[in-house]
């Protein structure tokens, strides 16, 4: 045990003396999240709302005035066909269209029920959600205002349409995606490089000649990166809560527990890579090509998996980050508990066990 601690201490020295790498590891997620956070706030403030008022009556005027009163948007009033609206979306700044049908006020007062259509450009899902929520709440306010003087309920039915990206994938997906990416980067890349470095420098020979157990070398190396990853996760979570206003809806302990499992998966992958290569460069290349690209492509964080052709969808099933990503989304954004994620957790656990077994079996106790 004392030997093991001496080794772990040495690994921490390595990590903390390599200032550049350390900076990269913590700077990268921070930069990504900060950039994303600011890009987001700017866009909503400058967006333009098109109001197509076919009704041109008291109710529609009142609602339009209230949207305008918020001061954040420029309102463009005109009568357009759906095709013109789409052209306006494509032209650029228009992010939302509100359409009042003929006889809006009349329907509302006499039938107690009327419709408004809201169309949003969901190619930027975050903006779309924010804007539609905003428009809907103004309409709801007006509805409540009407209710006060009357005994019969009025109902304005808002017809929401998200065009271009109906399921709104992409925005809240960002944080879970960054988490998966960063954990992979730290664990796979750093572990494999740090083990291969010992081989390259020749210190691995000295370690193998010593009575220190070769398998423990690997575990001792994994420990600093395990803690670094948890720290990184904490930084990302704090930033996403404070800067992006993306609250953690689910159980944070569960989130950490599952993340620890994913870190183990990544560490065993890093170990496997370090076993099959002898130079830091190739370890780095394999980690980047073999881990980061598939994570970007197949975890669903950038490109929706449902829209991929079947072969790619099948491939996506062997990418561990896909499962982790689903888990983080379920816990963080949907606030679901373990009962909703046990399948993914099981898959991750299975992958970890398999990877660890293979890499420990492959680990060379002798060099030749």
């Amino acid at each position: 045990m004392k030997q093991f601690l001496a080794f772990v201490r040495k690994e921490f020295y390595h990590v903390f003396r390599d200032k550049k790498t350390l900076l990269l590891l913590f700077g990268l997620p921070v930069a990504q999240i900060v950039l994303f956070g600011f890009a987001l706030t700017n866009e909503i403030k400058n967006s333009e709302i098109v109001v197509c008022d076919y009704a041109n009556d008291v109710a529609s005027h009142r609602i339009t005035d209230q949207i305008e009163a918020s001061g954040n948007f420029s309102i463009h009033k005109c009568l357009m066909s759906h095709r013109d609206i789409e052209a306006a979306f494509k032209a650029g700044n228009t992010k939302l269209a509100v359409i009042f049908p003929l006889n809006f006020n009349h329907d509302l007062l006499h039938l107690n029920k009327a419709q408004v259509q809201i169309i949003a450009d969901a190619s930027d899902p975050n903006t779309a959600t924010t804007l539609t929520t905003f428009a809907t709440s103004i309409i709801m306010d007006y509805q409540n205002e009407l209710l006060q003087g009357h005994s019969l309920p009025f109902r304005i039915h808002t017809d929401l349409r998200m065009i271009y990206n109906p399921s709104l994938k992409g925005a809240t997906n960002f944080v879970p995606g960054v988490i998966a990416l960063v954990l992979l980067l730290v664990c796979v890349l750093m572990t494999s490089v740090s083990i291969v470095r010992e081989k390259e420098l020749g210190t691995m020979e000295i370690l193998l000649v010593s009575p220190f157990s070769p398998i423990l070398v690997v575990f001792a190396k994994a420990i600093p990166y395990f803690f670094l990853s948890l720290l990184n996760l904490t930084v990302i979570l704090i930033l996403s809560v404070t800067l992006l206003d993306l609250p953690i809806h689910g159980n944070i302990l569960l989130l950490y527990a599952v993340s620890a499992l994913f870190i183990l998966t990544a560490l065993s992958l890093g170990l496997l890579i370090s076993n099959s290569t002898d130079s830091q460069q190739s370890a780095m290349l394999i980690s980047l090509m073999g881990m980061l690209l598939p994570t970007l492509m197949f975890s669903g964080f950038m490109f929706p998996i449902e829209n991929m052709p079947l072969p790619l969808r099948i491939i996506s099933n062997i990418v561990p980050s896909k499962y982790y990503y689903t888990i983080v989304k379920s816990i963080m954004i949907k606030g679901l508990g373990f009962s909703a994620i046990w399948k993914e957790t099981l898959v991750l656990a299975g992958m970890t066990a398999a990877l660890l077994t293979i890499s420990i079996k492959k680990f060379k106790i002798r060099l030749a």
């Binding site: 020749g202 000649v209 010593s210 060099l367």
Partner: protein, 247 residues
């Protein structure tokens, strides 16, 4: 009768068709400085790696400190030290941290470690440099430190693989003083080299040519046997017939 600490019997290592070490048999006695000589590519490092447990022999038998190299590797590891051809300390750790680390993985107690640390810094005269990163030291100092670290756990045998490669003659001389001091403490030294002047410093030497041991005796008797004036001549005489190209 002298105590035998290394004994090999027809130890062989094949890489495919290539026989790196061919049925080598020799004995090394406790406390001696045993020189393992040969040209580049003669199979010295391969033979040494088999003895250290870094490389599995293809056939043959060997014991280190009385333990079998196939079955009792754990006992052997505790009793040997090893200094490889490549410089093998951590450059991003300080002198003291390196000593602590290697002492630590050999399981030295805190008290032993403290004594060793003081003794080592004292012997090497590195009081000023103790807290410097090893990467900032000159090569000669690094080599001396690497050697001291290889014997920090007081092994029975220490294997040195071309320890003086690339250092100047003065530092080499100092390095050998260090080897003699260690030998005086009763530690057996097994050293490979291709500097023939260093061969003269050894108690006994073996000459390896093309994976085979061609000669084994004290430097004086080898010179007599080949009626040569220096070890250089002995080496040329033996290596002339070599078929392998140096790598």
């Amino acid at each position: 009768m002298k105590e035998v600490v290394i004994k090999t019997d027809k130890l062989t290592k094949r890489f495919g068709d290539f026989i790196a070490a061919n049925e080598i048999s020799f004995e090394v006695y406790a406390g001696e400085i045993f020189g393992f000589l040969g040209a580049n590519g003669a199979g010295k490092t391969t033979a040494m790696k088999m003895l250290c447990g870094l490389s599995a022999p293809s056939s043959g038998a060997a014991t280190i400190a009385g333990f079998d190299i196939y079955k009792q590797t754990e006992q052997i590891k505790k009793r040997i030290g090893y200094m490889s051809q490549k410089f093998s300390l951590y450059e991003d750790l300080t002198v003291l941290e390196n000593i602590n680390f290697f002492g630590g993985i050999y399981g030295l107690s805190n008290r032993q470690l403290r004594l060793k640390r003081e003794e080592l810094i004292e012997t090497l005269g590195m009081q000023q440099e103790a807290k410097q990163l090893v990467g900032s030291l000159p090569l000669g100092w690094k080599q001396k430190l690497a050697f001291s670290v290889a014997v920090v756990h007081e092994p029975k045998i220490v294997f040195l693989d071309e320890p003086t490669g690339g250092v100047d003659p003065v530092t080499r001389r100092q390095f050998w003083d260090l080897i003699y001091d260690t030998s005086d403490k009763g530690i057996t030294i097994f050293v490979t080299t291709h500097y023939m002047d260093e061969a003269e410093y050894c108690n006994r030497i073996s000459m390896m040519v093309d994976g085979v041991i061609k000669a084994l005796d004290t430097p004086a008797r080898l010179k007599e046997q080949f009626s040569a004036a220096s070890m250089d001549e002995v080496f040329f005489e033996l290596a002339r017939g070599a078929k392998r190209k140096a790598d």
